[in-house]
């Protein structure tokens, strides 16, 4: 049963100036006391998320809102398992798929078809499962003969179409979206939106981070508002 529960999770980024990153100074700090040691204790830390608690259960469609730098993307990364919270307890059960960077890992010298496999593998699919999906993905992307060309010959719109087609080809249990995905020209955009809606429909839990509150109202049943890394309101 897919669910996410967080209890007082904190995420802090240490900010190092070059002297903190230098091995020489780390050695000196260890061997000397006083002044140098004080310098190390005044290290700047950015609190990206602090003391955040929530429960997301099956069927929840959560809208994540907040200003720039309020921690939305960081929270999505925490949910996808990239950052492990420094403190607090986080439990995520269910297969997570995050549509954060659609074209990550694509090889510009390889053909469209090769990139479908490459992206699929990066999403954790076994190569055989991807082979079975290739024709469906190819058809959806409407790129036709271009699929046997290196993707460096694609326009940026075509590239996004391909990336979108692969990334949305598997239905996850927990779907994480950083902003609504809008790709392609007018005709393709409608088709892409339908596909995204289907994906959301079939997922058990969806978390959408967006600045567009009308979008959130339209697709989400719950809302988590972040302010400076804290939950300002949960509904």
């Amino acid at each position: 049963m897919p669910h996410i529960s967080a209890e007082g999770i904190c995420v802090e980024f240490p900010i190092w100036n070059p002297s903190h990153r230098s091995l020489k100074n780390a050695v000196l700090r260890a061997t000397t006391g006083g002044r140098l040691a004080r310098e190390s204790s005044t290290r700047v830390v950015v609190q990206a998320l602090s003391d955040l608690s929530f429960e997301f259960a099956r069927g929840d469609r959560i809208g994540l809102v907040g200003n720039n730098g309020s921690g939305k993307t960081t929270l999505l990364r925490v949910l996808s398992g990239i950052y492990e919270p420094v403190r607090g307890r986080l439990e995520v059960s269910g297969r997570v798929s995050s549509l954060l960077d659609l074209s990550l890992g694509m090889d510009h010298e390889a053909t469209g078809l090769e990139n479908i496999v490459l992206r699929g593998v990066l999403m954790g699919l076994p190569p055989l499962a991807i082979q079975a999906k290739v024709s469906e993905i190819a058809e959806f992307s409407e790129l036709g003969d271009y699929l046997s060309m290196p993707i460096r010959t694609y326009s940026s719109g075509m590239l996004l179409r391909l990336a979108f087609a692969v990334s949305t080809s598997v239905a996850p249990e927990i779907l994480l979206l950083d902003e609504w995905l809008s790709v392609g020209d007018a005709g393709f955009r409608d088709k892409a939106e339908r596909r995204l809606l289907e994906l959301i429909e079939s997922s058990a839990i969806m978390v959408l981070a967006s600045h567009d509150e009308s979008l959130i109202r339209r697709f989400c049943s719950r809302m988590l508002r972040l302010e400076h890394g804290r939950a300002a309101s949960v509904s």
Binding site: R21, G81, I82, E84, L104
Partner: protein, 263 residues
Amino acid sequence: MSARLQRAVRDLIDGVRAYPIWGRLGWQDIRQRYRRSLLGPFWITISAAAMIGGIGMLYSQLLHQQTDQYIPFLAVGLLVWFLFAALINDACLAFIGAEQFIKQVKLPLTVHVWRLVWRNLIIFGHNILILVPVFVYYHRSIDERALFSVAALLLVAIDGFMAGIVLGLVCARFRDVPPIVSNLVQLGFFLTPVMYQTQALGNQEWIAQVNPFFHFLQIVRAPLLGLEVPLDSWAFALGASLVCLLVTLGLFSRYRARIAYWV
């Protein structure tokens, strides 16, 4: 087993299982380097061949060695050294270089380390082709002892992997370390009997004996040159690997979760 260690071991297992990922990314690294060139990755072979030919001719004169003895010795030694040096230098960038991946998609972190090991094994595989003409020309043959060289290369790959975790992690935290390491590797090249025979060290042979590079080089090189399998070097290499394993497990379980924050 502590929870931290458990998660580190989980990462190690998942990393091996993710071979479709690092297998592809490793090849992709090679292809991108030689994209749209006629010979593609075989440029690796050609550059190494040019180097061995050049150095071989020059140094066999300088060191008063017979070319038919010296060039096969040099060829095997240099190729193995190239592998060591590349493994160690790339190890420093194991995580820093994979920043994009680490921050955007949840993968076992060891995937990035296997990727660099695999990439360097592919390069080594291209390089080793040089040995065919060299061995044929100088009427060398290899026998069943070469299997020990294969086993030794396997050990080198595993140690390269562990070095990738340790150095990758340290370098992600301390950005001064990569240049330090590359200087040490450079120095290591001159201290290791790659271009000269161990005997040339005379009374200073201990320099080779305490040098881990030397022992790892020996276990690969000696059987290929028709010499006995060097048991003392095997013992040293296995011991060093065990120490390496403990350090790797310790550091990786302690700092694995911090890597995403550091890169």
